[in-house]
């Protein structure tokens, strides 16, 4: 087709559509009325303070979520934040000249300088460090290239770079690999006479000391130090020109005194002598202390003083493993302070800690000592960063930034918590929503009266605003009323179902309940059963509704089940924890004796409304929970109908299983729960040379379908094929399984399957040559929409598949319907041979996609929007009508009547259909949609580093008045009409009387 004609039609359609379908767009003054946006940064791993000078005091942090942020030290607010790309994790962070923030990331290959006040990128330098080694950053106290700015040194593996802090230019680089193959530089120090020492390991000779000329990067001397013992090459510390390392057998501490002449003196100290106990395990901690080294020996933390003249070691203090030490902070010339945080006697569980600050030269005397109490749900303290300030009496005070076990960040000063950030919310694993409790107590009368007065005043102001009579202050008052209406933040169920509790599970094993009205934290609990225990950390996996009481059960609270696993080397058994959703308390927990491979909520509940769950272990045995007699009898009743499938992406198989007989508890050693044998009944095997499973999508179990049929403009009926046991599987060729650019069009291909999970029958298969992943898909009712990349056109595409049931096409007669001989309401069976009709269509789409979902409403009557999390970290709402395979370039009159949009080659993107409007949900990972009780409305919760909540009405709010509906105007109109009627009546009476007198 002529391109120009197509473009013109596209433009025409665009204009048309913008008139028809500017769905649900937001006005600027509606921002924040029902949506909220929260910014987080993630678990902090690096922190640098900027408290000198007259500027605002701030702290620069680098996090596990690859974010660099500048925080206000007084309030904890984010000044600016930059989220780096995937795999671009922050290795080191520093501030130079109070002007630039330097970040080192991606294993030392990216060095970036950010402008301290606003976070603009000043320069970026790309290095080629040795792969696989830890990269470090050292800001030098000298200016190498005379640009009036101190320079820095970056080293990783065998590469050393001197970089100009002014523009990131490489002053010199030294590749030590040419000199010694397997050299890994661990630490670099600058001696007082300007010589640079690099100390590292080499497999051949153990310790290697390299002397480098600072100005030009020439290697003056390379000095392998022969040591009789093999060394542990994990960590090495450099303390005042003394290198400290451990031997591989963890028995001896090796100290090497480096002198400028090139001599090295080796002192060996037995570790067992130091701690006067047998040593089972030992390692050097990476905390840098002035004149000392911290070891972890037998689970205890030992701080050892290093004598720089003789290399002798002295134990300064021995701590329990729960202690946290900060790096040494140079307060004044010779004073180096270290913060020590320990839980008090019975601490940890109740959140009481002691914070001590000591100077390196007088370790036994506390420079400051405070006891701090954190909320108990913060757990232990994992990291501490120390900062000093000058008090008015010229003495030094200290503040400490601490990272809690729940990934939160708090600032402590003088024994008080100044602020706390709940940054665990940046790493949400799973979410669920719960209804709020019913409102039990009626409000007292006085409150109602107060509300009434407020209500009237609010509407009066609103009326003035609509009639453009309101002053600026009144407008502000109206806006404030809308934003802070107590109606949306109440802790009780509302009629429309907008108020709910968002239950989220974070990476740290914390469960947090957020109120959908304003996003505040209602309660939070750090699950005791998911906390690390004797060195074994635990990983939370999933959140599942366990018990959802029906609407009128007032005394029952909903319960959520958290599934986790322990992260031992051999042991990865499952952990279950039950949490009360209203109280925010862990009710009970249970350690399973098997690893959980698959969790299946079954569609049955017992008499106490606990949902039955099936856990599949690694030996393909099925465990039924709750482990009660009642649930067993219930399960046995439905056993024959339970079929599940397991997707193995590595092997490229999907296997369906059925439940067999019960495992005999005594003979086979299974004791807890009801355990059943399973048996594979079908399998789909994809050829591994040509197909790799990319995406598997199922329908939502709680999806509401309003109608089974679709009535066309021509009065014909199409019956939807609504099979709950259907999955959508997309496979790609192995070469196309990586990112874009790795495969040529000829090597790439994508195949989409629709598979019945009861019988394993492939209902439909469609092949897309030249296409590649990543594939994002959404499966709803009888349609699938999926997103992938077209390598031929080099654009993203979205395809839709709609499935219709042909078996039912025949019976359309009115008589049959009247006589009840139709099968429109008979259930779909997987065992009957389906005769389905599949309609497909494909469109171009502009953006990369991070997440995709569909709106869901209470009864499924309302139209659907497909919510797409784009590469811009925004959420775009696309009307399902754009993904209708029956679209044609010029629809007939009947089709137009039906609401079919003329076909275009690309999906149009209207800026007003971004439901996140001006906000970005940085690091977007998932979108959750929940139906409100009001049919037209769906609640949308988007999470990534940020959280965003809003509600959306895909077909506008047809079932309620809009929020800005003016009741006052209605009242005034009615009153005016009544007055008008009365007046005209009186007038007409008078006139009639006058006529009669004539």
């Amino acid at each position: 087709m002529n391109l120009q004609v197509l473009q013109q039609t596209a433009l025409g359609v665009l204009i048309l559509c913008s008139i028809w379908i500017c769905c649900d767009a937001l006005y600027e003054d509606q921002v924040g009325v029902w949506d909220w946006h929260q910014q987080y940064i993630g678990k902090v791993k690096h922190a640098v303070f900027q408290t000198q000078g007259s500027g605002r005091k701030r702290v620069i942090v680098g996090t596990e979520e690859d974010a660099i942020a500048s925080l206000n030290l007084r309030t904890g607010e984010v000044y600016w934040r930059r989220v780096l790309g995937e795999g671009d994790s922050v290795n080191a962070l520093d501030i130079i000249n109070g002007k630039y923030v330097i970040s080192l990331s991606k294993d030392g290959s990216n060095v970036r300088a950010w402008h301290l006040p606003d976070g603009a990128l000043v320069w970026e330098s790309l290095l080629l460090p040795s792969m696989g080694s830890v990269a470090s950053l050292l800001v030098l106290p000298v200016d190498i290239n005379n640009d009036r700015m101190n320079d820095m040194l970056i080293f990783s593996g065998s590469m050393l770079y001197a970089l100009s802090c002014h523009d990131g230019g490489i002053i010199w680089k030294a590749d030590l690999q040419a000199l010694r193959e397997d050299l890994v530089i661990k630490k670099v120090s600058l001696s007082s006479d300007g010589t640079l020492f690099g100390v590292g390991f080499s497999d051949v000779s153990g310790l290697v000391i390299v002397e480098i000329d600072l100005r030009f990067g020439h290697i003056r001397k390379i000095n392998p130090v022969g040591i009789s013992k093999a060394l542990d090459t994990k960590e090495l510390m450099l303390v005042n020109g003394v290198a400290v390392a451990l031997d591989a057998a963890f028995t001896t501490v090796v100290t090497a005194l480096i002198k400028t002449g090139g001599d090295v003196k080796i002192v060996e100290t037995l570790l067992s002598d130091l701690v006067s106990a047998e040593v089972k395990s030992a390692q050097i901690l990476s905390t840098t202390l002035e004149g000392a080294v911290a070891f972890q020996v037998n689970g205890k933390v030992v701080v050892v003083k290093v004598d720089s003249a003789t290399g002798q070691l002295d134990v300064l203090e021995v701590f329990e493993s729960s202690v946290v030490l900060s790096n040494s902070l140079n307060v004044v010339e010779s004073k180096h302070a270290t913060a020590i945080v320990e839980p008090t006697e019975d601490g940890g569980s109740i959140g009481k800690f002691s914070l001590r600050v000591v100077y390196a030269n007088s370790w036994s005397v506390d420079a400051a000592k405070d006891s701090v109490s954190l909320e108990s749900h913060r757990g232990l303290i994992r990291k501490v960063f120390l900062n000093a300030y000058l008090r008015t009496d010229r003495s030094y005070g200290f503040r400490a930034l601490v990272v809690g076990e729940d990934d939160s960040l708090s600032l402590l000063q003088q024994g008080e918590v100044v602020w706390t950030r709940e940054d665990g919310l940046a790493s949400i694993i799973d979410t669920w929503t719960s209804e709020l409790p019913l409102e039990r107590d009626r409000h007292p009368v006085s409150e109602v009266e107060h509300d009434l007065a407020d209500w009237l005043r609010g509407h009066w102001l609103k009326l003035k605003a609509t009639l453009f009579l309101a002053s600026a202050e009144e407008l502000a008052a109206v806006q404030a009323l809308r934003l802070h209406s107590s109606d949306k933040t109440k802790m009780a169920r509302d009629h429309n179902g907008f108020r709910k509790l968002l239950i989220v599970l974070t990476k740290a094993g914390k469960v947090i309940a957020l109120h959908t009205g304003d996003g505040r934290i209602v309660w939070s609990v750090l699950l005791p059963s998911l906390r690390a225990e004797s060195g074994i950390s635990k990983v939370p996996l999933k959140l599942m509704p366990w018990q959802v009481p029906h609407q009128h059960a007032l005394d029952e609270n909903p319960v959520v089940l958290v599934v986790g696993r322990s992260k031992g080397i051999s042991d990865s058994t499952g952990i279950l924890s039950w949490v009360d959703v209203y109280k925010g308390k862990e009710l009970r927990s249970s350690k399973l004796n098997f690893p959980v491979k698959l969790m299946i909520p079954l569609p049955f509940t017992d008499t106490s409304e606990q949902r039955l769950h099936l856990f599949i272990d690694d030996k393909q045995k099925a465990h039924v929970f709750p482990a009660t007699e009642e649930s067993l009898s219930l399960f046995l009743k439905h056993k024959a109908n339970v079929v599940y499938h397991i997707v193995d992406k590595e092997k490229g198989t999907i296997v369906g299983y059925t439940i067999k007989n019960m495992v005999d508890g005594i003979t086979e050693g299974e004791t807890d729960g009801h355990v059943f044998h399973t048996e594979p009944i079908w399998s789909v095997i994809f050829p591994s040379e040509t197909e790799v499973i990319s995406t598997v999508v199922t329908r939502r179990p709680d999806e509401a379908v309003h109608t089974q049929s679709k009535i066309l403009g021509s009065r014909d009926v199409l019956y939807k094929y609504l099979n709950k046991n259907m999955i959508f599987v997309a496979t790609v060729t192995p070469k196309a399984a990586q990112h874009i650019g790795s495969a040529t069009p000829e090597e790439a291909g994508l195949v989409a399957y629709l598979i019945d999970t009861v019988t394993g029958r492939v209902l439909h298969r469609v092949s897309h040559p030249f296409m590649q992943g990543p594939v994002h898909a959404v499966f709803n009712e009888n349609w699938v929409v999926y997103h992938y990349f077209n390598l031929k056109m080099y654009r993203y595409e979205m395809s839709v598949i709609e499935i219709y049931d042909q078996n039912r096409m025949g019976d359309k007669g009115v008589l049959q319907l009247m006589l009840g001989r139709h099968n429109a309401s008979s259930p779909v069976s997987s065992y009957s041979i389906p005769s389905i009709e599949v309609k497909t269509q494909t469109y171009f789409f502009t953006f990369s996609v991070k997440a995709m979902t569909v709106t869901s409403t209470a009864r499924g009557i309302t139209g659907k929007h497909i919510l797409v999390g784009t590469v811009n970290d925004q959420v775009l709402a696309l009307d399902k009508r754009f993904f209708d395979p029956r679209r044609t370039v010029s629809p007939s009159q009947a089709e137009r009547e039906e609401g079919i949009i003329p076909l275009t080659d690309a999906i149009p993107i209207f800026p007003q259909s971004y439901i996140t409007h001006v906000h970005q949900v940085e690091g977007l990972r998932g979108i959750l949609t929940v139906p409100a009780r009001l049919e037209s409305t769906s609640l949308v919760f988007t999470y990534g580093l940020d959280l965003f909540f809003t509600r959306t009405a895909p077909s506008r709010t047809y079932d309620s008045l809009t929020e800005d509906f003016s009741y006052a105007l209605l009242l005034i109109t009615i009153v005016a009409l009544i007055i008008g009627i009365v007046v005209t009546w009186i007038l007409s009476e008078r006139k009639e009387l006058g006529e009669k007198w004539k």
Partner: protein, 201 residues
């Protein structure tokens, strides 16, 4: 650039792409793709600090970088072949760019905006396709707008019916009126049975 800076109506961004091979022996086939996004003033209300968060994404998230204040950005370790570049900037709609890095020409780069299918010239100037306004604009209060609304039209029709129709009646000749009324009386009213039989008189 201060806030009081007179914002130009056109926002133009230039992506200048050039590539050079890295002289490392082990990564001989990887190149550096350098480009430039130049933003000169905006008409949007977004604060200036927002431009600091403009990112450039390679291959749908394989690599990500930020633009410098002068608009430059660079990707390291890009293999020869075809790649996809996307600009992430709030308030602007950018077309993704297809970038061909040639191994034969030592990493020379050819770029095509995929949305417009326009090959970008050597000194590439890429304009964002449009600025984006995320909010619906409230129509200012106007009498014409009020009249055009369904309610306004109804009120208008009612006014016409109440005030103009009687005037119309007045203008009809009374004799004529009488005649018409007479005629109507003579005509029998259409009965239900007639209608049912489909007859008309």
């Amino acid at each position: 650039m201060g806030l009081r800076h007179v914002c130009k109506l056109t926002v133009f961004c230039a992506i200048v792409l050039a590539a050079s091979a890295i002289s490392a022996p082990k990564a001989a086939s990887s190149y550096v793709v350098e480009g430039r996004v130049k933003v000169e003033g905006t008409t949007t209300k977004l604060p200036l600090s927002k431009t600091a968060n403009i990112k450039v994404v390679l291959n749908g998230g394989e690599q990500l970088t930020f633009i410098r204040p002068d608009g430059y950005f660079a990707f390291q370790g890009v293999t020869a072949g075809t790649h996809l570049l996307e600009v992430v900037a709030m308030g602007y709609y950018f077309s993704p760019v297809r970038v061909d890095v040639s191994a034969r020409l030592h990493g020379q780069v050819r770029a095509i905006a995929v949305e417009t299918r326009r090959t970008l010239p050597d000194a590439l100037v890429l304009e964002p396709l449009r600025e984006e306004f995320y909010y619906e604009r409230r129509e200012p209060f106007s009498v014409v707008g009020l009249l055009k609304s369904p309610m306004g039209l109804m009120v208008g029709f009612m006014l016409v019916a109440v005030f103009l129709l009687p005037k119309l009646m007045d203008s009809i000749d009374p004799e004529e009126m009488k005649r018409v009324q007479e005629e109507m009386r003579n005509q029998p009213a259409p009965s239900f049975s007639n209608l049912l039989q489909g007859r008309s008189t």
